[in-house]
Symmetry: C2
Subunit: 466 residues, 2 copies
């Protein structure tokens, strides 16, 4: 039956093909203005951001009375002629000859036309995708996910599925969720009285992954260029609008590539994504620019046309100090950059995306490549206006001895990293990679300011609804 119904998207995009013809569409009534003998229904069929207007005339539609009383969000099937109207924005409408009610809604439908707060809409996550804002956000999310795959596959990267359930610890990347099938009430105990994880499902303690990077390195040292794109988790009790407990991450990893290649790849990726979404979601992007974030399109266009700045951490700290600006967190060499610092660099000093490189080793992860100065590592963060850090990456330590002494120095369990170390023994090579928080880039592209509003069913502390 689905082929009987044209998609509203195609009616708009290929209207010349359908004008004057009798067509059928199926969708949901977004609004209805029907008076005694005549009226209009705005129909959205989900295929397209925009609605199509349906003209409902008592003289033509048998069940006019029934239709005129229909509650919004009812599902209907409309048959009629597609005609052109003198309206640049909505140049077509359907003159209905027949309307079939597929599924009635009623007046208790919570998503009435009045404006709702985003907070409220989160409580009706099963209905909010039917609103303009969330229909736009989730379509952009889908299109950007595809753009990311397209970008990497066109460049011959191998998409690597890294495991969600992991037996390794977090490498300090954050708090983890534990996974178990043990009876929490009566867990088996060892003789020493500890939980006996040998009886757990995987025979040891397991957690949800915080990053696929270490596994991605395995794949990169076989396939040269790879990427992951999957869910990652943080069990942090963070209630900010920028943190979710479950989010998607993109992690490319390139071999025979150094930090310069890594930055180039990151810059190409960001620009590719922006161009792709501007080209493929013009209606949604216009909507965001009008109703969510007025400077959005200007900002995105300027980024596509700019060369990203590249400065060292040391230089960044100098500039921040020289600026004389009073920060909540004072700046000195060795400190971790806070969001206020990052935004100052990208928004005030450069007014452009900025790569900051070569951070102090003590504030970065064990696997980042040590520089000759013995003090800094080959790390990079990409800072963008309006958000701050959007990408974090590094050249990886490929030297067995240096990596081993770093693992020991940081008190990590050498035996847990046996395979990671072996990669450095059997044909090691220069390699680099980064992580892009998928939700961060969606927020950046849409202007949405809360991460809960760019995930269809967000998971945050005390919240796993739907």
């Amino acid at each position: 039956m689905q082929k009987e119904f044209l998609e509203v998207k195609n009616l708009y995009r290929d209207k010349e093909e359908y004008l004057g013809k009798t067509i059928r569409v199926a969708g949901w009534m977004r609004t209805s203005r029907i008076s005694k003998k005549f009226g209009f229904v705005e129909l959205n069929d989900g295929s397209f951001f925009k609605n199509i207007q349906v003209v409902v005339d008592e003289a033509k539609v048998d069940n006019f009375k029934e239709i005129s009383k229909l509650a919004i969000s009812s599902a209907i099937i409309v048959e009629g002629e597609l005609v052109s109207v003198d309206n640049a924005k909505n140049p077509i409408e359907i003159q209905a000859s027949k309307i079939i009610i597929e599924g009635e809604s009623d007046s208790s439908y919570p998503l009435q036309k009045k404006k709702h707060s985003f907070e409220y809409l989160r409580t009706i996550a099963h209905l909010r995708p039917r609103s303009n804002t969330f229909s736009a956000v989730f379509r952009v999310r889908s299109v950007v996910a595809y753009a990311i795959h397209k970008f990497f596959q066109e460049r011959n990267f191998v998409y690597a599925h890294t495991p969600i359930i992991t037996g390794s610890d977090a490498e300090g990347a954050g708090e983890m969720f534990q996974i178990t099938t043990l009876d929490m009430k009566n867990p088996p105990l060892t003789e020493e009285g500890a939980i006996d994880y040998s009886e757990d499902f995987f025979g040891k303690e397991t957690n949800l992954t915080v990053s696929g990077q270490l596994n991605a390195e395995i794949m990169a040292l076989a396939f040269r260029n790879v990427y992951t794109f999957g869910p990652t988790f943080r069990a942090e009790n963070s209630y900010t609008g920028r943190h979710a407990s479950e989010f998607w991450m993109v992690e490319p990893e390139i071999t025979f590539g150094d930090l310069e290649d890594n930055m180039e790849l990151a810059e190409d990726l960001i620009k590719y994504i922006i161009n792709y979404v501007l080209e493929n979601c013009p209606e949604e992007m216009d909507f965001f620019n009008k109703f969510i974030d007025k400077g959005l399109l200007e900002r995105l266009n300027s980024i596509v046309n700019s060369d990203f700045v590249r400065i060292s951490y040391t230089k960044a700290v100098e500039l921040l100090i020289e600026s004389g600006h009073k920060f909540d967190y004072p700046v000195e060499w060795g400190c971790d950059l806070q969001t206020e610092h990052e935004r100052f660099i990208t928004e005030q000093i450069y007014k452009s995306p900025v790569f900051v490189t070569d951070y102090p080793k003590d504030i970065k992860a064990f696997y980042m490549r040590m520089n000759e100065d013995g003090k800094t590592v080959r790390a990079m963060d990409l800072l963008v206006p309006g958000v701050g850090e959007i990408i974090g990456g590094s050249q990886r330590e490929e030297r067995y001895d240096v990596l081993m002494s770093k693992i020991k120095e940081m008190g990590l369990h050498e035996e847990e990293y046996w395979w990671y170390l072996e990669l450095r023994k059997f044909g090691t090579a220069t390699h680099s990679g980064f992580g892009l928080g998928f939700e961060r880039i969606i927020m950046y592209l849409t202007g949405m300011s809360n991460i809960r509003d760019v995930i269809p069913f967000p998971r945050t502390p005390k919240n796993a609804e739907f």
Copy 2:
């Protein structure tokens, strides 16, 4: 630096462009046959299934002696002229003028040239992607993942990320993994002595998802056509070669589409995937056909050109009984079809993929649409030769009252399904969907017979290594 190195894939694909030129490549030494003054190295750079042969001549290569002693799997950078050779299979080679050692391997490298069992290779999952078989499997995995996205996005489906962490129960789909941040040793208890999940991270008991379908239905009733593609989990103590604890699933959901549309979509998808992989991975597919499963290409080609059979469950049971074949599990109307039955239908009776539809309601899930006979539901399974069931789906129960009584009849908790029920109140519509096990289709396309060998880092009972 990465741009200095051409990809071996491009050398093969665009050889006319590079013949006679001095080029640089970087990769790993797969084999080495170097005698006193002259020899050959097979280099694989990960960009391509095939190696490129490097001619190493003492007269041309400074560090000839060093190179001649190099252990396989060492990473090297090769500079030299690309020349053509009279060999249809490998029409090009590099005459090295310079070889730089990027990272040495040594004789303890476990992946020596001799044939290893797949069981053994699982214990070196950090190295097996460098073998022919696994390089082919994981590249096909990547290409098929992309084909799936491409298929749906070209058809204007919205990619919906459904949650991994879920507060709902399994709907009988299987055992679940529990997620917690509670101290397992001293969990907080309620006054009644039960675990106090209100103190757990999400304020209630949570698990890893077994399916994104119910959430996908939310999205389909807003966007018309959607799909999910993400990890799902089963905590089943199953040690077969067909079951993993963590696997990826593709779940499209279409609105204003019935079971016929659903079957058409499934058939189109399977054919699209097969065509895409045959076109984009010819070298890998030839390899599988030669070394893993001799009938593979013939079988896949025949499927692309066949019309899938569609029969009812009732008819299938009749045919199985009529066949007179002695099954381990006897067949009668009402029984669940076992793999032996499924394979008999698709391999012996029809020698073609077969959709079996309209199963007895008692062996299917609560959300499947009840038929007028009151005994069967609008379910479908797609059975394919060599595997059995590869897709399971249904038309969904869109009628509020029927769904509600089904939920009650099956003893499910009505209040847990409040939003699922509300979808049937506010503009319900005919809709359908199915689930395709991603690993199942990879096994089917490659001829690999153990699911552990199509997942880079598989998770199975008592195993969460790497």
